[in-house]
């Protein structure tokens, strides 16, 4: 895959995840190891994805893997 296509795919993934995060309630609480043991709310999750931090990359990976799992039937047990 060319570098341009890879960049476009990454951009689309990021946009999909940000849109999904925007649909969540503002007070959703998630913590990761990299968040120093504290819980982050929706806007902080979005900020991390927007800024491309390690946490943000992790969030994108989780959301995209989750969507792919539904597509393949892995989660639904199909």
């Amino acid at each position: 895959m060319s570098e341009v296509i890879v960049r476009d795919v990454e951009k689309i993934k990021k946009e999909i995840v940000i849109e999904r995060l925007r649909q969540a309630p503002p007070n959703i609480k998630i913590s990761f190891g990299m968040s120093n043991g504290e819980f982050m709310e929706r806007d902080e999750l979005i900020k991390n994805v927007n800024e491309g931090t390690d946490i943000g990359k992790n969030i994108i990976e989780m959301h995209i893997s989750y969507l792919q799992a539904f597509k393949t039937g892995l989660i639904s047990g199909g």
């Binding site: 999904r20 998630i30 990761f32 043991g37 504290e38 946490i55 992790n58 990976e61 892995l74 639904s76």
Partner: protein, 214 residues
């Protein structure tokens, strides 16, 4: 008597949840007749844990704590195990409820003589009910994230092999992901599902798949 060691720091919100949920495992370990050593809070520190491992040679070690690909930490994020001392886990089965430690450290530990190492290749994510601030016992979302981890340890304590325990835990994670994705039992559940799915993907076993605590 077979020895089981628990390291349970409690110095931030995430650790307070892990500390609370692992309490029942201590009781089960005692009930099953293991010599159960619980080092929590200020005693979940490097000098104490390393000394116990050297002297007591626990067959099973359970770490709560923050981590990274090359680290497992204790109270106040003091480094207990790192890429400099993975051999300390030799002759033990370790379960590390910490971020990413299965990525490098777990593999290194097995290469240096650990029987098995179970942990997470990625960041361990924890969801929390915003309406249950700092009340782990009533947090229905945190329970869905942490019960699969407890099932892994309780399965080991009850005599299951490392692989059997891993598979049971993964199955519960998958069931909980499906539940979060589809339930109407409480609002906003579906927004937590991708993070638990990340834990499912990250949970990994290195070393002996048939290893038992007994």
């Amino acid at each position: 008597m077979v020895c089981v060691l628990f390291s349970r720091p409690n110095h931030d919100t995430q650790m307070s949840y892990l500390h609370y949920y692992s309490k029942e495992l201590l009781e089960l370990s005692k009930l099953k007749g293991y010599k159960t050593i619980n080092k929590e809070e200020k005693n979940a520190k490097r000098s104490v844990i390393i000394s116990i491992i050297k002297k007591q040679k626990p067959k099973f070690i359970f770490f709560n704590g923050h981590g990274s690909p090359n680290l497992i930490c204790g109270q106040n994020n003091e480094i207990i195990i790192s890429s400099k001392n993975p051999e300390i886990l030799s002759e033990s089965i370790t379960y590390s409820l910490s971020c990413s430690s299965a990525l490098n450290l777990g593999r290194m530990a097995v290469e240096r003589g650990a029987i098995s190492f179970i942990g997470y290749k990625f960041d361990f994510a924890l969801g929390k009910d915003p309406e249950r601030e700092a009340v782990p016992s009533k947090d229905k979302i945190a329970r869905l994230f942490l019960e699969p981890s407890n099932l892994l340890v309780s399965s080991m304590l009850k005599g299951n092999s490392t692989l059997e325990a891993l598979n049971k835990s993964k199955k519960m994670m998958k069931d909980n992901v499906l539940y979060l994705s589809t339930t109407d039992d409480f609002q906003d559940a579906r927004y937590y599902a991708p993070y638990l799915y990340g834990n499912y993907l990250g949970l990994t076993l290195h070393g002996d798949k048939k290893a038992l605590i007994q």
